[in-house]
Symmetry: C2
Subunit: 218 residues, 2 copies
Amino acid sequence: MTPKGGRYHHGDLRMALIDTAIELIDERGVRGFSVAEASRRLGVAVSAPYAHFADREELLAAVAVHAYHVFLSQLRPQMKPFRAPARRLAAIARAYVRFAGTNRPLFDVIFGAGVDKDRHPEVKDAERPLTDAVLDCVRALAGGDATAGELAVAVEAAAHGHAMLLLDGDLGHGEEVVELAAERAARVTLALVESRHLLGKPFNRHAPHPPPAADPRT
Amino acid sequence: MTPKGGRYHHGDLRMALIDTAIELIDERGVRGFSVAEASRRLGVAVSAPYAHFADREELLAAVAVHAYHVFLSQLRPQMKPFRAPARRLAAIARAYVRFAGTNRPLFDVIFGAGVDKDRHPEVKDAERPLTDAVLDCVRALAGGDATAGELAVAVEAAAHGHAMLLLDGDLGHGEEVVELAAERAARVTLALVESRHLLGKPFNRHAPHPPPAADPRT
DNA sequence: TCGGTTATCTTAACGCCCATCAGATTCTGA
DNA sequence: TCAGAATCTGATGGGCGTTAAGATAACCGA
């Protein structure tokens, strides 16, 4: 809370570290973030963070948890206007891409910081409301159908893929670009739902396995 | 070529570094890779690599270029059996996910090593045949239609999203899982193509903008 | 109010890593 | 043959993650 006025104890170093981490990641990317520099920026010894986090990864995991909370707080009002499951899925996809485009450091921490979600269950817990929301919609559409899981994966994949292309691709920057990508993701989601009958049908004839990997190195 | 038998010159240190980098990334992940350890494993001074690469990132960029070459060499025979553009797109998506599932270190270098493609045009060049292949198919489907670019993005997003969920999600491991994810990506691609008429129609009513970001940190 | 326990922070240190530099060795081609 | 270019070594500097031992502050029961 109080930004350290020369006192021995900081006040709330744990939370300050999370905030500063987001700042630094915003400035230099996940890869450029270092615990030491965060400490320096807070006027604290480089070893101080280790009273609150076991290691660097645990700090990043805490940032990821925060990121999920922010995302869900933005998602909920965007889902509210819609009752039809298909529209709700589209709203999720749209919110997902918007979040990536307008909160890049948070999105990057979730997917680009290399936080092992198996070793940090808090992150998985923070993620669960999102996957539950998707599953609820999908089940309402497909019932107990075996294609439900498939549709859920497809929806998540489409949203995530559009987000990645927005951030790393050649689409450019700016709010219009974000909204364009978000709208595309929403439309694709609707397309997936409407053609979900396709997902059940087998389509694997003429699908040869890959040959042994060649090695055309330069 | 020759693995250094005590000679002063290594023989082909540049290529050996690329190979060793892939080994190390396979063992410890992109994040755990270090130039120093690669040097040690090759019996060479830790400063030797800098005669061939300006810095760590340039070495990883070379690995990424190699990765694209491998992927394209696997993609081509998988596209060959198909002539219909839609089927060719599906084959691309399938090959994309297969590549991610069976060549994880290479896939991780491309997307998870933080290589700035703007600062390393070689990577962009190595990537181009892939994006061209997608664009060719899409244009054959949509002509000069304005939805062509949109469809291309959707296809790439779907493939990439399925690959990410395969690697980082809870789908499990093993060859069957890879093939399942690949087949799903292929089917989703077909669904996208068949419903591409949807992509042209506007769908933005009832799409509220996100509220100012709340901050429900723990 | 006091005193001990616990949480938090500091100082110091270790090992690893990236990167640079000067100089030694080998290769190349004119 | 030999000069210049390419490649590698050894040494060095600076940064980072992490741990250990001890100082300081906050807390809480008596």
